[in-house]
Symmetry: C2
Subunit: 349 residues, 2 copies
Amino acid sequence: MRNVVTKLPTVEDVAKVAGVSRQTVSNVLNSPGIVRETTRKRVEQAIDELKYRPSAAARQLRTRRSSAIGVHLDPYSGGISGVLLDRFVHALTERASERGMRVCVYSARTPEEEMERLGALIDGGEIDAAVVTGTFYGDPRTGWLTQKNLPFVSFGRPWGGDDVFASAHSWVDVDGAVGTAAATTWALANAGPRVGWFGWPSDQGTGDDRRRGWQEAMSAAGASGPVFEVADDVVAARQLMTAALAEDGLRDRLDALVCVSDSLAVAAHLAAADAGRQDLTVIGFDNTPVAEALGLPSVEQSPELVAAGALDLLMGETGTVVAPLDSATPAEHVLVAPRLVVREPALHR
Amino acid sequence: MRNVVTKLPTVEDVAKVAGVSRQTVSNVLNSPGIVRETTRKRVEQAIDELKYRPSAAARQLRTRRSSAIGVHLDPYSGGISGVLLDRFVHALTERASERGMRVCVYSARTPEEEMERLGALIDGGEIDAAVVTGTFYGDPRTGWLTQKNLPFVSFGRPWGGDDVFASAHSWVDVDGAVGTAAATTWALANAGPRVGWFGWPSDQGTGDDRRRGWQEAMSAAGASGPVFEVADDVVAARQLMTAALAEDGLRDRLDALVCVSDSLAVAAHLAAADAGRQDLTVIGFDNTPVAEALGLPSVEQSPELVAAGALDLLMGETGTVVAPLDSATPAEHVLVAPRLVVREPALHR
DNA sequence: GACCAAAACTTGATCGTTCAAATTGCTGCT
DNA sequence: AGCAGCAATTTGAACGATCAAGTTTTGGTC
């Protein structure tokens, strides 16, 4: 087979074969409704015959739409939490391609570098919208994007705003408090009344939100339990928990631990096993492969739902193009309720 | 601040400000060498002043290059192994943007669907090259891509070809055998002579390659050990290993286990602990967060090196554009040597 | 059959860049 | 001075699609 690099067919070529004009071919592709049935069939056949595919670049140049969404890949932190974002990116890619959109990923080590990268993508017309992840207290990116007038959604609430629901931009997030509340309620029912909290130091964000869920569920049940705080590091967390179980004689006065992350849950589980309390109910958050492997129950964030929500906000529930920013329509929000994945504790007795 | 959507500046605008022609501006951007120093400075200043950024679409239309690389995101399998590919995608994105390339990800559930997606990207001129991951025995994608005449690299050898090094396409891979050999040698020196293999059923690919490393290191040392095989599933693997340790009275006749994956290593570690052999040296493969969390030694694949290798093959060691396919230059290969990450076994006594 | 409105289709212009070819300016040599 | 040769710069055309504004066809009504 000769490997001839023939010129790719264009609308013009298709038009010639189908005996119509350029524009009619274009219409068959973009607004089939306005083309007569018989003509459409003829054009479609010509398209198949020539194996025609529209040139993305030409279309993009003319329409000023790229049909691409930019997504930041957070720096690989070497920990457990990265898995969640990867699932999110994955789901976003699948949903996006179902709606005729592509996903363009980029990386940056700092918010400043990220804005530089994003700026090039935006001004170069390479993306129609962006999804920013991991928003934090005082995040400069959201304001910058708003000012740039680019449609975007953040995965993560705008923490620290005066009124979260009056936020100027759209966001999707997981309702952490609902997740930890579910975990706490389940623990109270299945393990006993003495349910502790194992979390991060106060951060005005995700961590506090999750802790609130535990707190409220405990109050509602008229119960109370100890609180431990440590950074998201397995080794440090394990040491802390080992010490705590030993020192306070806490070993036998604890029925369960609700944890802010799977990292801490793993640490707590290992520390408990060291102390001869393999039976201690430890519940994680994120449902990462680690929790699965160890058989620990964990709160599942459903990044797939988050991704779908992000696209709905950008494109409307059924739309096929990114809706332009319109200061009239207010920003919207999606809060996904997570779900507790219960695992068989018998597995690791 | 009024939110005026002013027309973005074009080469023409820059040219006017700098008092030169379109083409000279273009030259400053693409071949600065042929522009006189003083002129270049003037143009660069005009660019800064207007905050000009070239339109990706227009450039792409004219040059027939998109400066984008397509990468498949494998379906999220819910397991541990996905982490490795995510690190690879991540590293690829970073390296690519250093070389002025973007990364466009896409997803597909089957090879057929993948070829469909890729076909649209290729014919639409959206990507200049592709990276395919997870090649398997009899993979239809590589031949198809070769026929499509698109530059590509596979992460993973063309398993099952007659002569791997005569392969028609470029690939990058990790030398699994070197990794397991290192693990085995280390185990022989630090744990004892009775080192077993815990792997997958024969697959004519990755798994067999890794087993070979263990086999050869054992032979070289004049040692031998038991072999266990099971699919990559923590629960099933744990059951099998628990049974094995009990039945054969193997419990006290084993010094270490070299495993084909971290999943199996975790399973083996848990089974060993159940049997009162917390001290059993268990070595994993992939160095995922799970191994890190449990403090298990593991073979690190360095997906960062793999990504760099893939780009070198596509663009040359220093190039800034994808080299066109040239049947004269033979396909090339990069084999990355993995590295054993030793962890403190004392941690989890 | 004449007329009109709506539907169906066509034509010229345009998006912003780079290629190819033409032009201008400069240097050194005879 | 004349001119070759090279460096620096400019000009017209093209990439392949869609938009906006035209023209033709269709079908219904009297």
